[in-house]
Amino acid sequence: MNSPATDGSGSTTPLSSRLSTQVKRIQPSAGWRALDLGQLVAYHELLFFLMWRDIMIRYRQTAVGVAWVLLQPLLTMAVFSVFFGRLGQMPSNGLPYPLFVLTGLLPWQLFAFALNHASNSLVLEQRLITKVYFPRLIVPVASVLAGVVDFCVTFVLVLLAILWFGIRPSLAILTVPLLVFILLCAALAVGLWLATLNVQYRDVRYAIPFLTQFWMFLTPVAYPANLVPPAYRAWYGLNPMTGVVEGFRWALLGAEPPDWRMMAVSAGVVAVLLTSSLIYFRRMEQTFADVI
């Protein structure tokens, strides 16, 4: 057994062989700062570990565990089918209403989860932010990505449901990754804005549940997009989730293809939101530790 005095020295490899020459200058930053992608790459392992932690602890100490991943969309689908489908006689473009809702819920729940998580992420990690250095962007990005695992599980469930209803998805299914990418960018964009605001104004925390609920009704989850009068369609496309949800129905169920102009508007909106949120985030980043 090593004595305490030697068990320390055993691990400390001589430094001389791997002295780095990097020089870091710390000084007050002047205003706007560029996005430092190199830093993000250097810290990709931390990103991975934070994501992994989110996934590991999510269903710990729950009785049914990972089954919650499936229960959430299934229960919501049941409620919607009863109230909107059966009682409300909501049109579903000729598709079985439960399937129609389920394919809408699949992207929506990922979006809602990612948005909600990202918005609260910085405040939840305030211990980390005040005690350790790392590119702060990792925190919201990790919380957005952590939802993808749940999504994959639900995706399999939805696919099985589709096959069970006798629908054979076309090659359009290959666009799903692209749609998920747009979705994640949208969630990150809005999530970054809210997370940054949340550092200073905790009002955000209370506003988020309303925001997501409101937003869901603005998105064709429980109803088809063509229910919206044509005059408002262009405006409707400003909601990036409209294109994503419609895109999912097209990709999985072979529903009518989404309005590509609307999709372009959606993508444009996402790009603007994401760029502005990144700029704002970088601007505020250096004050997080002092303000949070």
Binding site: T13, R25, Q27, M56, Q61, V132, A289
Partner: protein, 428 residues
């Protein structure tokens, strides 16, 4: 090797007092400010906000391989300095230049998740501290062995005792191997055995040629680990030099002395369900609470504690340490009044009196404990509860007499000398 590892020039950090509470209350206020008049008013208020400099014009340079201690009282700016150097917060003025990879340890166990197991937390915490996954895998066994938690590796950390928790957290941190290590007061964890182990580890780290910047309140630790020391006071460098000199300056300035410690919050007070420490004070002969004692004066260390559960025999004790962390003595209350007698519930105040003309000059710390001796059970032990200094102003009647030089000895008792005149010396 006299390459620069760390260079700090005129570093300053300004904080706005009440920045988050008074000025920016909520979003509604912010929106209301969106009118031009509102904006002007806001700008005016921001200008007028009271500010203070947590760090002001701090400059120093550290060579590669140096181990430097940073000392100073509360609010001296130590933590702010470390936070700037760790890139957690930005300076308002000046700059710092860091040559090499920095690892900083401002807190033990940052990012530990109670739901995860010990094994999982080692990986998570390692990644947070900036270790690579491969590095963690390589050192995994060593970390586990150091933390002494092999058996509980797959138990959720929330079921750990607080001691195990800190041990695990510290051993992850202790295996960090940056070129420049920045450490805040984190060694004050765990039991004394583990503390010793941590110190050894730190010594090994600094011995391996790493540059270390180390904040501590414990002068003995600073003296042991750091040849050089920087003393901060109100955000400025007050002294910078060999640790013996700087720690002496610090101690003599009285900035680090605490003549009284009180625990107003029972949750935070040392103790258990049997007894709890309320306060510790140091008194001079006249009963006044002061941190500076004449060498002739008796010194009283007063303990106030609550006996919470009746029926226990409680023995208060006090240990006195000098600057070199030598335990001068351990005193315990064996007076017949309470010896072997169970105490009823209540608040007790006892004072241990050290006679005048006994302690040497210098700074002493007192540790306060309370125990039941049979069967042996320690109810609390508060290290470094208070500190005080003893000064010798060479008043007549002291041990020192007319000697003006460096008077040796860890104690300076006034001893009785007897002399017998034995007549004339024998002739040769």
């Amino acid at each position: 090797m006299s390459e620069t590892a760390l260079r700090v020039q005129n570093l300053g950090k300004k904080y706005h007092l009440g920045a988050t509470r008074q000025v920016a209350v909520n979003l509604r206020d912010q929106i209301a400010r969106l009118s031009l008049r509102g904006l002007l008013k806001y700008a005016e208020r921001v200008e007028k906000r009271p500010t203070f400099w947590a760090l002001k014009d701090v400059s120093f340079e550290i060579k590669r391989g140096e181990v430097v201690g940073v000392i100073g009282g509360n609010g001296a700016g130590k933590s702010t300095l470390l936070k700037i150097l760790s890139q957690i917060t930005e300076p308002t003025k000046g700059w710092a230049e860091i040559h090499g990879r920095v690892g900083s340890l401002l807190e033990v166990g940052t990012g530990f998740n109670p739901e995860l197991t010990g094994r999982e937390n080692i990986f998570l915490n390692g990644a947070i501290l900036g270790m690579r996954r491969r590095e963690i895998i390589r050192k995994f066994d060593e970390i586990v062995e150091f933390a002494e938690v092999e058996r509980f590796l797959d138990t959720a950390v929330k079921h750990y005792s607080s001691g195990m928790h800190t041990k695990l957290a510290f051993s992850v941190a202790a295996h960090l191997e940056p070129e420049i290590l920045i450490v805040d007061e984190v060694l004050a964890v765990g039991d004394s055995n583990f503390q010793r182990k941590c110190l050894n580890k730190m010594e090994a780290v600094s011995g391996a040629g790493r540059t270390v910047l180390f904040v501590s309140h414990n002068m003995a630790t600073v003296l042991r680990l750091c040849p050089r020391c920087i003393m901060l006071h109100q955000g400025q460098v007050l002294a910078d030099g060999p640790s013996e000199e700087v720690t002496r300056t610090y101690l003599q300035s009285g900035l680090g002395m605490t003549a009284v410690r009180e625990w107003t919050d029972p949750v935070l007070a040392p103790g258990n369900h049997v007894a709890r420490l309320v306060s510790v004070r140091v008194l001079d002969e006249a009963g006044a609470n002061t941190a500076t004692m004449e060498i002739q004066s008796a010194v009283g260390v007063e303990l106030t504690f609550d006996a919470l559960e009746p029926g226990h025999v409680l023995v208060p004790s006090v240990r006195i340490f000098n600057e070199g962390t030598v335990c001068l003595f351990h005193g315990q209350d064996n007076e017949p009044e309470w010896c072997r007698k169970p105490r009823p519930r209540g608040r007790y105040q006892c004072t241990m009196w050290i006679p005048g003309n006994f302690l040497a000059e210098g700074v002493f710390t007192a540790c306060a404990g309370l125990a039941t001796l049979v069967p042996e059970k320690l109810h609390f032990y508060e290290p470094d509860a208070i500190s005080f200094q003893v000064v010798d102003r060479m008043l007549p009647g002291g041990t020192r007499g007319d000697f003006q030089g460096n008077y040796p000895g860890v104690v300076r008792p006034k001893l009785k000398w007897t002399t017998e005149p034995l007549g004339a010396p024998p002739q040769r």
